[in-house]
């Protein structure tokens, strides 16, 4: 502990941090631009100037940048010194010389850090009387809008984009007061994290382009704390609504999960909620007419009580919805939406976590590990935020070295990067094809999934061997690391991979290490579904004929081969689908019932590390059908059982039944405060207190303002009425603090800068069972796949945009979705007598499919890559062996392009 005298008042503070973060932690308002809590200091903007004094006798002091000065044992500073105040004011004056003052038409207005800082310093008179400099803006793709005239040259964008996120195509050009931040030429930003620029930029240079389509000021939104639904990581998000439409997603700080950032799929995938593919009205297959609510619900209830029902749950539906379906159809009749492979994979993932051989690592904790092995997972595309975190993790050792060798503080970002140069701690990637993280890897190797698993077992054996000399480089590195981490996942549909990962952590544990494990999965609630412990689809077959099948928020045709899915869909007498978005399954159903998407619903999902997180309804849609699935299913259950309908069924009610029936979920009630919670007797408002137009908004329908909708599921109100102040972390709908309108107000919500939120980061880790360690199984469960001539092993390639079901429906994401292709290496191309861009004919299950060929030189001879999750590649749902017709056969190869 050190003592910091701020304007002669002593404070107990941590030593070694910089003065700026210390002052902000203490609650002082000190303006800044170039510093960012996640990215440290560079001292460029000169905005955070303060006076520092040698000792109590020093009255003159010295003007310093608080972000560049460490807290010493005893430091004396002044924030209010006239020199410092004047200087801070003049920095704003400089920045304003060229800033266009177009706040009224700027997307950032009302949530602008530059506005906040300008007001904070008190600059208000303009002495610069010359024309302002102007720039030509660039087209940066469908996600981010560029408006360079507003730039105040804080350099945060390039520091995030290049240094933090490893992007290559955004840079700083030109010099003096004509510095330009952009691409070399117009074009789509390549980074998967470009959306964060909208939050990183202190003003309106980089803004959310999708928001522009339906713009609203921050103060006019209705917000709710939510959880991203587009991969298994469960990043925390803030979802914003205006005029009954989901309009914006921003990151919601969670010090255990995503920190300050989210990926572009999470930020821009939300438009699926407004897509033309939404199901808004119930429909019968035959007549395809809408029916009134009472009729159809009663009709379904009647159906359910007269026939035997089977339910299929979903890894992208909430725990509550899955549970309500299980309750409705009965325990023995409820199945997951998974194929056998997926079922086994997700169970295996759960088992590894439950065994507790390794530390279960949260997303943010990855940063603490100094030797990382990635076994068959293309993180950038399957769990993007994990890739961003790995990029930070590989800096850990070099940063520690810099501290030891030349006493550099961890926040001294520019100097650290100069000192570290290209050095990074160990990262090993074993994958069938090249990935974006390869550039920071110590060693990469490309092989088939089975070979990767086999290599994993070899590493485990090498670690386990008691020989003094471990020959394997990866094994040596993991053994020598302070904190070794194994990252793997289910994306290659390869069970031995998970077994190999488990063998490695067990071997490490045996050698006295504390290894960490991080397993990514496919969907936002995959872990939750795995924990429910329900049988896979294949077990349902016997019960399906003549049954009434209820399918919950899932597309069987994504999880099963078309043949298999057709088989299932043909067996039951009736199929009822509850979903919010159209899919092959929903279009084949006899009855489809619309339900609410995450923005219209409450629920709990469990992320890949077993953390249960609550997402809250953002707004009450006019369409009364758009309610949580669990609400419909509970209603049906009551009708079916002939019980009284509970109009006020809240999420707490269903959660308590859930926990009783499935005790492994004990704790989910604590993922968020219950609906009874009040602060000073008040609810927490979802809308900022400056929310405008409430009385006018609906005056076209009725001049009397309707009663605002009541939220029976959460302690939040749907309006701006309620508690003013910092709410508990789990029910923080948006970040705002007096004088801090921008997202930077997050500083006021944290215990210390960059630390946990005031009453802890929200979310509850459920997987806690601590079973005994089972012996290591080195038996190679990997059987060698033997291929016949002209046969290849089809391996999925994921793309951040397009491979995930929901986000792919968002127009901006759809624009960025790559065209499907078949990736083959030089050897395979030669063998098939094919050239790049030729059409290859794939034979699979007796059908032929055509895809253009792309050369992927790095891959194995036996591997053919295929883009996963696109409609055109839907025939591929798990690893299969395919036959490709060689061109010399002269059947269907389209060589016309080369003629």
């Amino acid at each position: 502990m050190a003592t910091l005298y701020i304007d002669n008042r002593p404070y107990d503070v941590k030593e070694g941090k910089n003065l700026l973060e210390t002052c902000l932690t203490l609650g002082f308002d000190l303006p800044y631009f170039c510093w960012h809590p996640a990215m440290g200091s560079v001292g460029a903007c000169r905005q955070c100037a303060i006076k520092i004094f040698k000792d109590e006798n020093d009255t003159a002091g010295r003007l310093v940048m608080s972000c560049m000065e460490p807290v010493g044992k005893e430091t004396r500073i002044s924030l209010d010194h006239p020199d410092a105040e004047k200087f801070r004011k003049s920095v704003i004056e400089w920045l304003m010389t060229n800033h266009p003052h177009d706040c009224a038409v700027c997307d950032e207005g009302g949530s602008c850090h530059l506005q906040d800082m300008t007001v904070m310093t008190g600059h208000n008179y303009r002495r610069f009387e010359f024309p302002k400099r102007t720039y030509v803006n660039q087209y940066l793709g469908p996600l981010i809008n560029h408006e360079m005239n507003r730039c105040i040259q804080c350099y945060r964008c390039v520091r995030f984009y290049k240094d933090y996120a490893g992007g290559k195509d955004l840079d700083v050009y030109a010099a003096h007061n004509h510095v330009y931040f952009g691409r070399e030429k117009d074009g789509i930003l390549e980074s998967e994290f470009s959306g964060n620029l909208a939050e990183i930029c202190p003003t309106g240079v980089f803004t959310d382009k999708t928001l522009k389509q339906h713009y609203s000021r921050k103060w006019d939104f209705t917000f709710a704390p939510s959880v991203c639904q587009h991969c298994s990581l469960g990043c925390n998000i803030i979802a914003g609504e205006r005029y009954g439409e989901l309009r914006q997603i921003t990151s919601r700080y969670n010090g255990d999960v995503n920190g300050y950032f989210i990926c572009d799929r999470g930020r821009f995938g939300y438009e699926a909620a407004n897509s033309v593919d939404r199901i808004y009205q119930p429909a019968l297959k035959e007549e395809n007419v809408s029916l009134n609510q009472e009729y159809i619900i009663n009709d379904i209830a009647a159906l359910l009580s007269t026939s035997n029902c089977v339910g299929i749950g979903s890894p992208r539906a909430s725990l509550e919805s899955n549970f309500a379906l299980q309750q409705l159809v009965g325990n023995g009749n409820y199945y997951s939406g998974w194929s056998d492979e997926e079922h086994r994979l997700n169970k295996a993932a759960l088992n590894i976590l439950q065994n507790r051989t390794a530390e279960i690592v949260s997303l943010k904790q990855i940063e603490q590990y100094d030797s990382i092995l990635i076994l068959g997972e293309d993180l950038t595309n399957t769990a993007p935020m994990a890739a961003l975190t790995v990029r930070q993790a590989v800096r850990k050792k070099p940063v520690e070295n810099a501290q030891q060798n030349i006493n550099l503080a961890t926040w001294h970002d520019a100097a650290l990067r100069e000192y570290i140069q290209q050095r990074h701690s160990d990262l090993f990637i074993l994958h069938p094809h090249s990935t974006k993280l390869d550039e920071i890897a110590t060693q990469v190797s490309y092989s088939t999934p089975h070979e990767i698993a086999a290599k994993g077992f070899t590493i485990a054996a090498a670690i386990d061997a008691t020989a003094d000399q471990v020959i394997d480089q990866i094994a040596t590195s993991l053994l020598n690391a302070q904190k070794p981490l194994i990252i793997t996942g289910t994306s290659l549909f390869n069970e031995p991979l998970l077994a190999a990962a488990e063998a490695i952590v067990k071997a490490l544990k045996k050698r006295g290490k504390q290894p960490g494990i991080f397993i990514t999965q496919a969907d936002c609630n995959s872990m939750g579904l795995a924990m429910m412990n329900v049988p896979p689809l294949s077990s349902a077959f016997s019960k399906l004929s003549d049954s009434t099948l209820i399918i919950l928020e899932t597309d069987l045709y994504r999880n099963l081969s078309t043949e298999k899915a057709d088989e299932i869909m043909n067996l039951p007498k009736r199929i009822i689908v509850f979903d919010h978005i159209k899919s092959t399954t929903s279009e084949k159903a006899d009855i489809k019932v619309p339900v609410g998407m995450f923005s219209e619903a409450d629920g709990t999902i469990v992320n890949n590390e077993g953390r249960a997180q609550r997402f809250f309804q953002v707004f009450v849609p006019k369409n009364e059908w758009l309610k949580e699935s669990w609400r419909w299913l509970s209603l049906l259950k009551a009708l079916k059982d002939g019980k009284a309908i509970d109009e006020n069924l809240s999420i707490s009610n269903i959660q308590s039944t859930l926990v009783e029936a499935l005790p492994q979920f004990r704790g989910i009630e604590d993922a968020a405060l219950s609906e009874d919670f009040r602060l000073n007797g008040q609810k927490v408002p979802r809308a900022p207190h400056r929310y405008s137009g409430r009385t006018a908004m609906l005056s076209n329908e009725n001049v009397s303002e309707p009663k605002p909708p009541q939220d029976i599921d959460s302690p939040m109100s749907f309006t701006m009425e309620g508690y003013r102040g910092i709410p508990p972390s789990s029910v923080t709908p948006f970040f705002w603090s007096p004088g801090w309108n921008s997202v930077q107000s997050i500083n006021k919500f944290q215990i210390e800068i960059g630390g946990p939120l005031h009453d802890g980061n929200p979310g509850v880790r459920l997987v806690n069972s601590n079973s005994s360690i089972t012996p290591i199984d080195f038996e190679q469960k990997t059987e060698k796949i033997s291929l016949k001539e002209f046969e290849w092993q089809l391996v999925p390639v994921y793309h951040i945009f397009g491979s995930e079901e929901l986000s792919a429906k968002a127009p901006a994401i759809a624009e960025l979705t790559p065209k499907p292709y078949l990736g083959l290496n030089q050897y395979s191309l030669a063998k098939l007598n094919l050239q790049e861009n030729d059409m290859a004919t794939i034979e699979h299950h007796g059908r032929a499919y055509q895809l253009p060929v792309r050369l992927r030189a790095e891959i194995n001879n036996e591997v053919a890559l295929i883009l996963f999750g696109l409609p055109q590649t839907a025939f591929f749902v798990k690893p299969v062996i395919i036959k490709i017709r060689p061109a010399s056969n002269g059947i269907t190869n389209n060589n016309s392009k080369h003629e």
Binding site: A44, R46, S90, T97, H176, N177, I406, A415, Y419
Partner: protein, 453 residues
């Protein structure tokens, strides 16, 4: 005749070739240092010599060398700063053009002293001929066994690389130079850490000016004490001065520090007096960034003593009446020169060369340039003058690198000493466009003699 060290043999034909340079005692320092001295001995001699950095800041070279961190297993680098681009300074270019081996010899000895096995000469991009000259000189030296592996059989290895810059003035700042050398944008770094701890590629690095390095050879051959005998006080040795402006004999002169300014301007050995029989109005004594001084203050100190060409004497009087030796860019202005226009010109240069990293310099230099332009072109307001002072004061000392100071000082000093000329520009816009304020009250104190000549 004063003693010449760097330019002693400058008039010998072919001195730019290895053979002629060697015949005239060249590379003796390498032989002496590598064969008979330890690295620490060389550092000690340089310390004794009192040699101060010739790039502008005047920091003692020996002391800079002794700060170099020497961690195990980490390479150390010597980088020669040949990015000479200060307006009014052209001494390094002259040296490199005419006697490149002086620099190469100095580089070898200095690298040996610092334990560097790879050294770089970072040359301003516009100096393409000099780059070729240096590369040829390096090839010659390598041929003769003075570079490469196992130099002169002493077991010492050294490679020298010439790296052209992109032409940015800021890359003459040592940390921006290192950034540029690493292939990045030439933005200065924040110190600490200093290059001596973490410089090029994160390794301990010394960055020295061409002239400083060139002087090391002589110091090694003749001893630091001999060097310290030349000059005056703490300003030891000789200095190259690039003299330009309204003088009879512009060019590069090697002077012994301590020469009087008056002698330098008026003697025939050096500048040869003001051209066309005009009178001296003002001098920028050390390159465009140092404060401008009117004739009366540059020739005489406040106490009436003559001002000397030395670090201390030129700085005497602080910012009120003094200036700096800087890089030795000596710009002389006669009675017809317009201080406002000159200040605007400098200001335009600093605005253009500001790297754009930190706010005060990035925005302030552009603002000052615009205001000065307005005054010069007859649209100025009286309040502009105070605005300039205010902006320059806020820039000064508050930027990451010294470019902010360099941009602020010429403006602040011009207004300090020539305020009436600025006011005249504001009050007489038409006259200012057509004519000149003239000498006014800055009369050089010795006009009669010069007028007679």
């Amino acid at each position: 005749m004063a003693q010449k060290i760097l330019l002693k043999n400058i008039n010998i034909p072919g001195i730019n070739t290895f053979e002629v340079y060697r015949q005239h005692g060249g590379y003796a320092a390498v032989e002496k240092a590598l064969k008979t001295m330890s690295a620490d001995d060389v550092v000690e001699e340089v310390k004794k010599s009192g040699l101060r950095g010739r790039g502008g800041a005047g920091f003692p070279t020996g002391m800079k060398w002794s700060f170099l961190a020497k961690p195990e297993g980490v390479p150390r680098y010597l980088v020669c700063n040949a990015d000479e681009s200060e307006p009014g300074t052209f001494k390094d270019r002259y040296l490199m053009t005419h006697t490149p081996h002086t620099l190469i010899e100095g580089m070898i000895v200095s690298s040996f002293a610092l334990g560097a096995n790879t050294s770089y000469i970072y040359v301003r991009g516009e100096m393409m001929p000099q780059i070729r000259i240096l590369e040829k000189a390096i090839a010659e030296a390598k041929n003769a066994g003075f570079l490469g592996k196992n130099i002169l059989g002493t077991g010492y290895d050294l490679e020298i690389y010439v790296q052209p810059g992109g032409g940015a003035y800021i890359c003459g700042e040592e940390t921006a130079l290192l950034e540029s050398l690493e292939g990045k944008r030439g933005n200065p770094r924040i110190k600490p850490p200093f290059p001596a701890i973490a410089g090029l590629y994160g390794c301990p690095t010394v960055v020295n000016n061409v002239e400083s390095i060139a002087a090391v050879s002589w110091i090694v051959v003749n001893g630091g004490d001999e060097y310290a005998k030349i000059g005056i006080g703490r300003s030891t040795g000789t200095k190259l001065i690039s003299a330009s402006g309204n003088i009879n004999k512009p060019g590069v002169y090697e002077i012994e520090l301590g020469l009087s300014v008056e002698e330098f301007i008026y003697s025939d050995e050096y500048c040869g007096g003001i051209a066309n029989g005009k009178r001296l109005k003002a001098v920028v004594a050390g390159g465009s960034s140092v404060p401008i001084l009117p004739a009366n203050l540059i020739l005489k100190l406040a106490n009436g003593q003559p001002r000397l060409m030395s670090y201390e004497s030129l700085a005497e009087g602080g910012f009120a009446t003094g200036t700096m030796l800087g890089s030795g860019g000596f710009i002389v202005m006669d009675e017809d020169a317009c201080v406002v226009r000159n200040t605007w010109n400098f200001s335009r240069f600093y605005h253009h060369e500001s790297c754009g990293q930190c706010s005060p310099c990035r925005e302030g230099t552009g603002w000052m340039e615009k205001v000065l332009h307005r005054i010069e072109y007859g649209h100025g307001k009286m309040s502009d003058i105070d605005l300039l002072v205010d902006v320059s004061k806020k820039i000064e000392g508050n930027t990451i690198c010294p470019l902010g100071d360099a941009a602020a000082w010429p403006v602040a000093s011009a207004i300090r000493h020539f305020r009436d000329e600025f006011e005249w520009h504001v009050n007489n816009p038409k006259a200012a466009m057509d004519g000149n304020y003239g000498l006014a009250n800055y009369a050089d104190p010795i006009p009669v003699v010069e007028e007679a000549s």
